[in-house]
Amino acid sequence: MSKVCMKITDLSVGYGDNGPILKNINIDLFEGQFIPLLGPNGIGKTTFVKSLFGLIDKKHGSIELYGKPIEEYSMNERASYIAMSLSESLNTGLMTSEEFVSLGILARTADPENLISKYFKKLDINELKYKQFNELSDGEREWVKLARVLIQQTKIIFLDEPMGHLDISGKVKMISILSNHTKETGASILMSSHDWSTIRKFSSYIYVIDQKGVFKFLSPEDLILTKKLNTIYPLQTNSMFEDNQGEISLKIEPIFTLDIESNNPIKTFWLKHALAKMGYAENHSNYLGVIKIYEEEFVLTNNRYKTIYELMREIKSLLAQL
């Protein structure tokens, strides 16, 4: 097993005289691990991350960084072990991305320009280098903020919602960059996220904070199999947990059924995916007929449709006549 870089024992954190937000946290952060931290909105993920750096006084317990309590490190020493990017608003004025990234360089470096270029290349964001930071899009900013964190070259990295503004391909790119980074440098990355759908696809282990503020370390699949996803993300009155997809989705009143004839399972899957949103159920008294799936088209009662879109328009008008 790799080395423990941070040992958190029996930690409770919170603000002011109000009771602790998070209680009894016991976690070991290992070198070379990239682990997402999931939890409902407002449960205290950011508070937790801030407390690990010593920015918030803890109520109880201990935080050890390489065997020594975090309080015994000076701010400067902490910054040389832990880099973090919080989702606070940044006042960057006329700063370019490059200048912003260079703020992360802690010590005098022989060739800072080269170092900066290296990280812009690593994240493949060279085109952002000379742009003014506050004129970037939200997604672009996340990349520049990540470069700023990585250039600090620390053993531990805390990221707060780095994927919040990224599109799907951006999310995949960030996850692959971060997991490569842990392999290359042996760094430990803790990343808070709201994006359950992405995380469950890519992460083997996750930290979760449930609605009661209890910490757990597990695989996302466990949450699905034990049907406990709703202990983390509360189910609304019109939402439900779908255990075959591992997602929370909208409850839709079943209003019709139809038969599907097909030998193409993928097309069948996505056709059902579309039908489900219209109120399709396996058994219902409203029977609309048979959809036959062919190579090039869908056929419903002798009418041919090239796309699911056209077919859904037709079904919608059929439903309106009911």
Binding site: L55, L90, L94, S102, E113
Partner: protein, 344 residues
Amino acid sequence: MKNNFITSIRVPWHFYLCLLLILVLSMITLSSGDIDISLSEILLVFTGKGSSFYNQVIFELRLPRLLTAIFSGASLALCGLLLQTYFQNPLAGPFVLGIHSGSAFFVSLWILAGQSLGINFAINYSGMNTIIASWIGSLTVMAILFTISVKIPGKVILLVIGLLLGYFSGALINILVALGDPHEIKTFLTWSMGSFHRTSISELKIMVFILFISTLASLFIARGLNLIFVGEVFSKSLGINPKKIKIIVLIITSLLAAVVTSFCGPVAFVGMISPHFCRLILKTENHFQLIPYTVAMGALIAIFADLLSSFILPFGMPLNSVLGLLGAPFIILFLMKNKIGSYA
């Protein structure tokens, strides 16, 4: 690479251009006046070969005034830059935030109180005791601004509060003026219009000393300034304690404003405009570059304004009138260009 924030001081070439312009404007200032002195004669005076009359005019009248303009302009500009960083507000400055007025009030209070206690101060609004009174004033205003800015964040609100503080101390000053004797009032009013020509050599030494120390200290904390400019938690996460930096800034800015105010009166807008010009020209927020450049720019703007106020315009226009005529439209243009909403 053009700019970077790494821990080294990079002096931009604009800085040298600025120095050159300062030199040119200085020569013009020295040569013009009631008696015109030619450039060659100025050179003779500086090499020790000038006539005793010219020596007197240059060394006793024009040079002190020129140096006062240079150093107070530089001090105000540095003060403005630090305030803008401290409050993360591009429109902050010692005059706009009412810091000058706070100083002015304490200085006038000091003098009036001294009189009523029977102590006969020479009413020249300078010397060590007025610096202290002035400093108390600037620190008080800074402390109030700091407390309020924590409670009500907002960039325009800060300026409004500065304005109100200015009015408040202005009102108090008016009460003092109403109570004072006519001779004193005249001295006070001339002082309050701002001027570079009443400063003695010994006062200049104090000013240079404070400016020198402040510039060094600012360069010393430049990395911290770069970081607190971006954000408080941000700077902590990079190992800088924002409180330490802010206390140093508080001391430096209040000192700089106090010294200039007590020697030259409240000089408007130089502190706010100079850092702006530098930012716009260099297109950077890097204090390692901004500090030296802003200091030079402040000196340049002050000489220019002084030159305008005393020689170029047909009648001796008060310095603050010149600065007000230049500064106020600048602020309005700036606000319009940057859309005021983004600063609220």
